[in-house]
């Protein structure tokens, strides 16, 4: 580690946990006072328990999930838990700000639109669950839900978490690093799942873009913005400039990259820089 890194809290030692929920790995790095304390382990368990509850409600893979029953008309929205209303409202807002590039109503595969709020749920759930970690005093955490990350440092001047951005053309290596104290990083792309992200307006996969990473205050919106930008293909950077984000990193299909804001030392970006 270079001497440039700001000093850490407590002993600075990082304790890690991993569990699999919702078909993806949930990874936690903790450091500081509760990195290895009972309170720290309990908070982690509470995070996992809440994510499991979220999965029971929202999983589109479970026939009996509330979201599937709602979609089949077996439940009315009034009969659903408040979380469902919250997530559907987020989906509505996301569709609105992205001009339909993001939608929780998937394009019809069998003649009918299907309700699938998965694109909202992951970021929202991880951000929401991270509150239990944020409640640990004098403790820094970095929580990843399948590659989408919430960072927090207890001290505003604590050591930043170093988030590696995976190379979409070679997922075994990194293409960039971004230091984050408190904030979120979400990446959308198709490196691990094939073309699973389609433009809901056309049903077609986006072209020209390989991955979009968004750095923002909350993972709820970082995740939505990354997905909505990715789906817009070559318009990803232009659209992201309209969003209230800290920054973004785009890898294009041809391997070139774009950073937002463009550069700290250049004059035009200094005025753009709002953090």
């Amino acid at each position: 580690m270079s001497t440039a890194t700001v000093q850490g809290s407590a002993d600075g030692r990082i304790h890690r946990h991993v569990e699999h929920v919702m078909g993806m790995p949930i990874s936690l790095a903790l450091r500081g006072r509760h990195a290895s304390s009972l309170a720290g382990r309990e908070a982690w368990q509470t995070v996992i328990n809440q994510l499991r509850e979220v999965d029971l409600i929202f999983s589109t893979y479970r026939e009996d999930s509330i979201i599937n029953r709602l979609d089949r008309g077996e439940l009315m929205i009034e009969e659903c838990p408040p979380e469902v209303v919250e997530v559907l409202e987020l989906g509505r807002q996301a569709e609105q700000v992205s001009d339909g590039a993001f939608s929780i109503n998937l394009p019809p595969a069998d003649g009918r639109h299907r309700l699938d709020p998965s694109g909202v749920v992951k970021g929202w759930a991880a951000q929401r669950a991270s509150q239990f970690l944020a409640a640990l005093d004098e403790t820094d955490f970095c929580l990843s839900a399948g590659g989408d990350i919430v960072c927090h440092t207890a001290l505003p001047d604590g050591a930043a978490w170093r988030i590696g951005i995976e190379d979409p053309h070679d997922p075994t290596s990194l293409i960039a690093m971004v230091p984050v104290r408190s904030g979120a990083v979400a990446t959308s792309g198709t490196a691990h799942r094939g073309d699973h992200l389609l433009d809901p307006r056309t049903g077609q996969p986006p072209s020209g873009v390989a991955s979009v990473s968004v750095i923002a205050e909350s993972l709820t919106w970082a995740d939505i913005d990354a997905t909505a930008a990715y789906v817009q293909g070559r318009d990803a950077a232009r659209w992201l400039q309209t969003r209230p984000i800290y920054g973004a990193f785009i890898v294009w299909a041809d391997g070139t990259t774009t950073r937002l804001p463009t550069d700290l030392t250049s004059d035009h970006s200094t005025s753009e820089y709002t953090n």
Partner: protein, 157 residues
């Protein structure tokens, strides 16, 4: 006093990241190709009259354990001019010396310490990067064992 130290450390982080672009262009590694086409020149600061000079203890023996120092050009940051010297051994920064630093006011220092500027460093390499977590396109549980994040969690560092 503590705040000042922290502030300096933050400043150094910033400049090292900026400086990373210079060093990446000196190498023919994959990091250079991974960089954006606008990266290296855009981050060179506003005083191109003093390009980074490198003084090596030998010829450019990349990959060896030679110690090389690089003196950066003066970078105009939003906090004022900054210049650093870094010492590199085996491709890793082992020492950073601040030669010139902005005498910013307290307000600047506070802004700086609360939120790191979003500096996206495109010079990282998987093996040498000191990374806490990996952000990537949705990692599934099936793919996790082979993923970088899996390796990080396994290493437990």
């Amino acid at each position: 006093m503590r705040r000042i130290v922290i502030w300096l450390a933050s400043t150094v982080t910033i400049v090292v990241l900026l400086f990373g672009y210079h060093t990446s262009t000196d190498k023919t590694s994959s990091a250079a190709t991974a960089s954006s086409t606008s990266g290296p020149t855009a981050s060179a600061g506003s005083q191109p009259s003093s390009p980074p000079s490198s003084s090596s203890s030998g010829s450019s023996g990349e990959g060896s354990s030679k110690i090389t120092t690089y003196t950066g050009s003066v970078a105009q940051t939003r906090w004022g001019p900054v210049q650093v010297k870094i010492t590199v051994r085996s491709g890793k920064i082992i020492k950073v010396t601040v030669l010139q630093q902005p005498n910013g006011n307290q307000k600047d220092a506070e802004i700086n310490s609360y939120a790191l500027p979003i500096l996206i460093d495109e010079t990282v390499q998987t093996q040498s990067a000191n990374i806490d977590m990996v952000s990537g396109a949705t990692v599934t549980s099936e793919g996790y064992a082979q993923s970088l994040q899996g390796a990080l969690d396994e290493a437990g560092i």
